[in-house]
């Protein structure tokens, strides 16, 4: 299991997690905008929320 409190390059795992979560949020919203506009972007609309939920579940773990 990833130790989110360890450092990976310039940042800790928690910071990387927040960055990835932000990207996933963007993907979800981009997919939502496309879906509402013309019913497309279903892949973005599926992947974005899944990664968001995964990030939240992972980052919510308190440090040991």
């Amino acid at each position: 299991m990833i130790d989110i409190d360890s450092r990976y390059g310039p940042f800790s795992g928690r910071v990387w997690g927040l960055v990835i979560n932000f990207g996933a949020n963007a993907l979800a919203l981009y997919g939502l905008a496309g879906f509402l506009r013309d019913g497309t972007h279903l892949v973005h609309l599926t992947v974005g929320p899944i990664v968001t939920v995964a990030c939240v579940l992972l980052l919510a773990r308190p440090s040991s």
Binding site: S12, V15, A26, A60, P62, S63
Partner: protein
Amino acid sequence: MTGNSDATPQTQLSDLPRYPIAEAVSPAELEAEVAELDRLSNSSPLRRGWGYLRLGGPGFIDAATTLGAGTLTASMLSGAMFGYKTLWLIWVSMGLGVFMMAAAARFTCRGGFRLIVMQNRHHGWIVGSLMTGLLGTGAVAIIFNYGQYSLGTHLIESLAPMLGFEFPRQINWVVFMAITSFITLNYGQRGKKGMVLVESFMKLCITVMLFCFGICLLLVGVDWGAMVRGAFIPWLPAGVEGIDLFVASSAAAIGVMDWVLFQYAGLARGWGRKHETLARFDILFGLFLPFVLINFLVVAVFAGTLHQVGGTHPETATELAGALAPLLGPTWSQVLFYIAFLAVPITTTVGMSLAGAIAIHEALGWEPDTSSWRWRACVLLPQIGFLAVWYPRPVWLVIAIAAFLSLSNNIVGWSFYLLLNDRKVLGEDRCKSYGWNAGILTLICLLNAVALTYIFNRLGWWVR
């Protein structure tokens, strides 16, 4: 922003100097308060609750500050347009904010550190002094106080004829300025008394809002079934309007200024480890409950009046209040409504002035001395809003600040989350609750969504 990486021991908290404003509270007063907290922890729930209500304060200051012209206008519009259907958004949005406020309480009571100083040290000057202090709180206090002045002076002008005299805005702004300046300048003066005066004033105003809006609702009548459905069954307008409403409402109930104000107001009271239960009670019963109840009342009053009338509705708070007044019936009920509504911009001006002064001092590394001219100048800066009586707000500045807030609130949220989970910052007092972290992260996702919809709008990617 590096987050924590190793397990070096935390700063010796006992070595941290007290926040200068807390020097106004004598050690004997603080010890007596801690002794009373100990007594209350062993007493009956009712007695404990009353005691905590009496000792609490920063939560009430936060509630009175966040219940401003913008929040109330949103509630009035919501009630007029959608009836009771969006009531659930109020407690959901404030409920999410509570997780972040609990982090602020932890920083105060267990960390004992000054938030912006700690952010500067761990996450850099841009996140701490600039995003949280100067722009996220200081600039907001100054620029957004135009709206409070505009609303406050309009309300006094509308209220005066009901009491039998004329009092135009071009004159009554002096009264608005005198009241808000007097209360604000008392903070930190005459030992603990100045702080108690400000906190008591905020508590009184919240009580007035609850009482007067409550009476108005009784006169208007309540559709209990629709109210309960609106409070617990999520509903949003169809399409992108619903998403915009959800994202904006859920992330905007409380923001960076509220987090900062609560953290520093607790420090100013000298709160320590034994105050954390009181701080949490203060968040729930001083901030969450009054905020939700007052917004519920306002939404319900407009749902029972303007929503029933139908048609198009005015969009400014003053026009909405003007449209509502005749529907309330007798003059005394209109007076009650205007008095309650007037308490809104007055308390927000007081709270924002304090938050702004605290943040500017922290961001620039100045020690806050409430009897200094520098403090007085900073705390009175938002009073420049009196110009709203003659001139509209500087739109370009409002747009610039709003854009900055949209793009930076989430980063400050990240900073809170990282501090709360950083062993180097809080040691064994860091967050150990999965649910607490999950709540903060959910709010962060919504703050991210605010930033992203702003960017998408600019790029033309959002649906219109």
